[in-house]
Symmetry: C2
Subunit: 174 residues, 2 copies
């Protein structure tokens, strides 16, 4: 009987410690250093198109925004808050005048995607893992290598401007 009582107390103590840690973790989640995406999600180049865009200024690129199945479903159903597992990828290429197209059209009007440029970026939704950055993990890869934390720290502050759209800039293009 004594041994059983001791066992119950021990189990209770462990449970209490686990419960306390979980609570503490939740409470501190807004204060801890942000966690970033450090691995390129597999198969992203096969994902479906969300939209296209272009940046002038220092970036000077033409870009495509792709989404995995969870992200595309959320977009199409106009879900305001993306569910966990949603991933958005941003690819970009140099924005090049196309001499061949222009020659065919008889005037300068065509621009095409040239070489990959400005890295590949990802936003991964995991409301627990990335709680300190609105539930989104941010990643940036140049030639397959993850960017420094100093670069990645700049992602979320900018995205906070569109908190009401769950921190996502790109809208779905039908």
């Amino acid at each position: 009987m004594k041994r059983v009582s001791f066992l119950l107390i021990a189990v209770g103590a462990v449970a209490a410690v686990v419960a306390f840690s979980a609570t503490a973790s939740r409470q501190n989640s807004q204060e801890v250093a942000p966690i970033f995406v450090t691995q390129i999600p597999a198969g992203y180049r096969d994902w479906r198109l969300i939209s296209v865009a272009r940046e002038e200024g220092d970036l000077k690129d033409i870009r495509a925004i792709l989404g995995n199945d969870i992200a595309i479903k959320a977009y199409r159903e106009a879900t305001i808050s993306f569910p966990d597992g949603a991933i958005i990828a941003r690819l970009a290429w140099s924005h090049d005048a196309s001499e061949q197209n222009n020659k065919t059209f008889g005037r300068s009007q065509s621009f095409v995607a040239g070489v990959p440029k400005n890295g590949i970026q990802f936003m991964i939704k995991d409301s627990k893992k990335y709680a300190s950055t609105g539930g989104w993990g941010y990643g940036h890869f140049d030639d397959g290598k993850t960017a420094d934390d100093a670069v990645l720290k700049k992602c979320h502050p900018c995205h906070q401007a569109i908190k009401d759209r769950d921190f996502v800039f790109t809208r779905y293009s039908p």
Copy 2:
């Protein structure tokens, strides 16, 4: 016996007529009026991305070029001549300055896809059906309605400028 002979002759005659028709059809394929794509291929918005582009001039759009599985496979394997069944889709949207993005970046540099514009276009490879236009059937749809033949007749003459690339302008963007 007589009945069997008659049957054989009848079958032979039918076969001869069929064979003649097929030969005549093949011989005339270069002379007949071009055949166009008059139905929107199902599920094209779920296809994978080939590349992105932009047109100034009268078109003023930003565009995405998608491919079905056969087209994507051919692109990735650098197959010079696309196999039958390959379909390439061209979607386009207005090329709009993004006030929200510019406000966030603190300068005017962002352009995004706005409303759908300049219709949706398709190229379908079927070397027999579309023999008179290099094996490609061309389609153009505005608000789901096919364009007139007068419009579609203009497709192939332009694409002939890139006959050495199987009449396809868009290159694959990694």
